[in-house]
Amino acid sequence: MAVIELTGVAGAIAPRRRRGRSVAAKLGGGLAVLVPIVVLSSFITYCLGALSNSNPAATILGQDAATPAAVAKLDRALGLDKPLVVQYWDWLTQAVQGHLGVSYFTQIPVSQSIGQRLPVDLSIALLAVVLAVLIGGTAGTVAAVNRGSWFDRGVTIACSVVSTLPAFVVGIILVVLFAVSAHLLPASGYTAPSAGVGPWLEHIILPSLALALQVAADIARQLRTSLVSVLDQNYIVGARVRGLPYRRVLVRHALRNACGPALTILGNDFPIMLAGAVAAEVVFSLPGLGQLLLAAAEERDIPVVQGVLLVVATFVIVVNLVVNTLLAALNRSADGVSA
């Protein structure tokens, strides 16, 4: 019991001291969290290949040439005769330098195939994030400000409906609406931005919208909830009483404190967006990472599968690091306001 009281007191006087030791603690704490995540997720990725009972050397050599001696020789060349942990370490150190191995079948370096396809998914995902934040943020804010209005209720219903629709269904609906019926936008294909920003946007706007909608709904719902509770706080009423313009109160005071959970949602939903990107690739016939992975999985081309999974997981980690940094900055500015 006494211990609890002691920490309670320490907690009460802590803020100043906590800030003093914060830099080292933050760096250390961040690394303690990040390093295991990177190592574990890459290890899981690598183990998938080792789990498979496929015999890569025999596959590469073909049925006729796959004598035990030849298989053993190729295994040695590929490093497949070493213990799993050693293999993993070799793979990871190579991967960090940008070498993800060579496809068993096409002999094309994996990093090269991924490099060709990554821009497609990055384009879609980036535009989707922008669209999700714009649509979800606007809808959530307007709904919270006009609480109980028809717009608010409309947003709530729209969010429930959209969250039941997977990206591939949304994609097909968009194709039917904008490409097949109205002939407004192309139904398939991809053009690099180097060939012109107009055609590039034309090709990625529908796929991006398809995977943005679900995330936009999540953001709108979360932002509405937190904004409603923030708008009820005394300091908002106080700011209004002091005569600050409503727009300023909303943006500077309310939104800054309410957008944390919505930001978290964006980080949490990023893997869902990547899944949506695969759906969009299929629906809109885009040459992206998902297509590469699906083809490689069918052939059991393990280096390609591992490479794609590693790149995708890295993106999820990076996006969540950015989200984490933004959240920390928000927390700091919120502390600064309240102090």
């Binding site: 704490g29 574990l40 997720s41 899981i44 997977p166 097909i172 978290t264 949490n268």
Partner: protein, 307 residues
Amino acid sequence: MSRRPLIGQRSWLRLPSAKIALVILAVVIFLSIFGSALAPQNPLTINANALFQGPSAHHLLGTDYLGRDVLSRLMAGTRLSVLTAFEAVGIGLVLGAPLGVATVFLGKWFDFAVNRVSDALMTLPYIFFAVAVTAALGNGLVQAMSAVGILLAPGFFRVTRAATLEFARAQYVEAAELFGASKLHVIRVHVVRKVLPTIAVTTAMSAAGALLAVSFFTFLGIGVTPPAPTWGGVLSSDLDYLSQASWAPFIPGALIAVTVGALNALADAFRDRVGPGAMPVPDPVIKTHSTLTQSDREATDARQTAA
């Protein structure tokens, strides 16, 4: 602990949305058991004289590009979708929930280790992971959905752990421990019963996610031998013939959406029961010192005082 009546003032069933959701789910489960037997026509019969027909008395939901009856194909395809979704949720529940309770009671290092594994799993997008698993373990829907189940586990784990932390610190637990109650007794009597409603919410939400995953996999054709009917398969065959029958994808699309919507509504109803108006505060995938939420800090404090 007195049991609350299933139907009554405080029951989650009082919500109309929950009742509608239960009816829809009952129909889906009924179809998954008897769907292929009750299908009005053989879902595999090809009829070259009846391609792309709209809804009619003979074909209630029309026919596809081979003249096969869409209603029969959807009815016969229900079982695979529902069973594999159950599989994934079951794996997630069995892996995640017990660990969520255990980490609270088995010490700091165990807690740290399981949390990091859970974090690592959360960085793997389900579709990429599942496809990679089918590449390693063989192309099958069961393999793909067990991968989804493994990725659902962190969700169960985090929710259960948070709820357990909350209840394990309650004063009545402290009192019970003073009276000499064992850890197992505390878990059984004071923790598990309280945590169950929270797990129910996660189960319903995960089932919705798993169903979306199955329909996506069958849409991609993962683990399905072509003539076999599936929900997603009906959708993908429609995709190639949008110019002939642009209304066709809306039928399987609506079926998936309604089922997922029913599961979401059920989750909402459970959530109302857990706490009025409780909207879960999202949990960041990567948490460092400065972004720990208030409850995280309290949990750490509580563990430090307990140690």
